[in-house]
């Protein structure tokens, strides 16, 4: 943490430098603002139209959170089922891997045809994109259970359930959190894209409105908001992870780390 604080000024400096170059560039080349607005204009727009896009925020956040919760819930459930029932795993694991390579987003228009423009198809899209990383990560975590620990707990007479609760589940928690972090960013993306397909409110809607009226500055504002949402969500998961996984050393502090 402290090293981050010490080194944090470097990327910040890089970003400031980038903004300055950008601003100077748009002025020198006299860029029309519908093509590429300068950062000053973008931040001004972000400031003045605050009330407009904040109106769009709640519905997007609601989508993200609900979709993420449903998706990760299903992801965890599926992973546990596949792990505890090897037969199911043999049957379905290849499909999960293959389906991971299909961009779920391409299913979105189909979902709109089937379920209309309400919450349901959007939640399905977000859940689907959240679900895979978590299932895969968790299954991986279960699989990587230490053989010595497993031998010990079985010699001690642990039942299958005890082995799962006391060994495999806690062992997979770090993997689960890596999956959750990926899913957190995916869920923001999924929410915005599903809003593009048709919604009355949301950052995705604000973005399409802005782009169709050539308000490029507003498109950038939307991008900033989306990036901020993603980071915030990611940070939240990292904080929860720190609370839950207390046994991992903080980097560079422990001499006995092997």
């Amino acid at each position: 943490m402290s090293t981050m604080a010490k080194k944090g000024w470097r990327p910040v400096l890089a970003i400031i430098l980038f903004f300055i170059l950008w601003e100077v560039g748009t002025r020198i080349f006299d860029m029309p603002s519908w093509l590429l607005p300068g950062p000053i204009q973008i931040f001004q727009e972000a400031w003045t139209s605050w009330s407009i896009y904040t109106e769009h925020l709640p519905s997007t956040i609601q989508l993200i959170v609900l979709g993420f919760l449903i998706g990760s819930g299903v992801g965890v459930f599926v992973a546990i089922c596949l792990h505890l029932m090897p037969l199911l795993k043999d049957l379905f694991y290849p499909f999960i891997i293959i389906s991971q390579n299909i961009p779920v987003i391409v299913l979105a228009p189909l979902l709109v045809i089937w379920f209309g423009f309400g919450m349901l198809p959007k939640l399905i899209v977000i859940s689907l994109v959240c679900f895979f990383p978590i299932t895969i990560a968790l299954l991986d975590g279960f699989r990587q259970t230490d053989a010595d620990l497993k031998h010990y707990i079985q010699m001690a007479g642990a039942t299958k359930g005890q082995t799962f609760r006391k060994l495999e589940w806690p062992n997979a928690l770090p993997s689960l959190f890596s999956g959750l972090k990926i899913s957190a960013t995916y869920s923001v993306m999924g929410a915005v894209i599903s809003e593009w397909l048709g919604a009355s409110k949301g950052i995705g809607v604000y973005m399409t409105l802005a782009s169709s009226s050539y308000r490029t500055d507003r498109v950038f504002v939307a991008i900033i908001v989306i990036v901020a949402l993603s980071l915030l969500f990611f940070l939240l998961i990292t904080l929860i992870e720190k609370r839950v996984i207390k046994w991992k050393p903080e980097e560079g502090i422990n001499p006995y780390e092997s």
Binding site: D146, D148, L149, H151, Y152, I153, Q154, M155, A156, G157, A158, Q162, K166, L167, P170, N171, L173, I245, K246, W247, P249, N254, Y256, E257, S258
Partner: protein, 240 residues
């Protein structure tokens, strides 16, 4: 408590590892299994612990056949095998937890006896190798089973720590008098700790010889330097 190993054989496909092993462990006895590397000692422990079925023969614990039955013995593996996400206190009660009855008072008392007071809420990564082995041993002592199997518990430790740990193990055991079956490569360690030593042959392992070690208890480290101890060492060395 009584353990009866009756004609145990074990093969992995065409690899014949154990061949008609016979011996017993009586109540409160400390018995060591001494045998060359790869002779099948750990395999024998897996069979006693119910992790794998013998190809032939039976194991009786208190006259009950326990072939393939897990959880009837307490076990301390070669690697300390502590659970990294559990604190020392939670690690130590794991055996009790699996059996269903946890006694934290007793656990805290044992942690203190092991010189680990103040580490109850630490995680295993914060402990040295010797400390981890002590925690692992306390875990097996606190488990409710009356027989403890120890698989080369000190082989990963340096000479100095090892002698200290042997002394500590004896002092705890002399107080609690649980039955112990102990695997080692180390002749001195076996003589110093045991009431009885069982010598296994090379693969396929059979019981080659049994020695009853007559030294009085409590034993202390001066014993290691005595004339008698050396004679025993020679005697056993010649047998191996």
């Amino acid at each position: 408590m009584s353990l009866e190993i009756h004609d145990i054989s074990k093969s992995f496909e065409d690899n014949h590892v154990l061949s008609n092993i016979n011996f017993s462990v009586k109540d409160g006895e400390f018995v060591s299994l001494l045998g060359p590397s790869g002779s099948g000692k750990s395999t024998l422990f897996s069979i006693i612990g119910g992790m794998s079925q013998p190809s032939g023969g039976s194991i009786y614990l208190d006259r009950e056949k326990i072939n393939g039955k897990r959880g009837s013995i307490s076990y301390m593996p070669q690697s300390s095998s502590l659970f990294p996400w559990r604190t020392i206190l939670d690690n130590v009660v794991l055996g009790q937890e699996i059996a269903g009855k946890v006694d934290k008072e007793k656990a805290l008392e044992m942690i203190e006896r092991a010189g680990l007071k103040g580490y109850e809420n630490s995680y295993p990564r914060q402990l040295s190798g010797g400390m981890k082995q002590r925690v692992s041993f306390i875990r097996s002592l606190l488990s409710p089973q009356s027989l403890i199997l120890l698989d080369e518990p000190f082989s990963a430790l340096d000479e100095f720590t090892r002698t200290k740990m042997q002394k500590w193990l004896l002092s705890i055991w002399e107080e609690h008098k649980r039955s112990i079956l102990f695997i080692t490569h180390n002749i001195e360690e076996a003589i110093f700790l045991s009431d009885r030593i069982i010598i296994l042959s090379n693969k396929p392992a059979t019981v080659k010889k049994e020695f009853i070690i007559p030294f009085d208890r409590p034993r202390d480290v001066n014993l290691l330097l005595s004339e008698e101890f050396l004679t025993w060492k020679k005697k056993i060395y010649e047998e191996m």
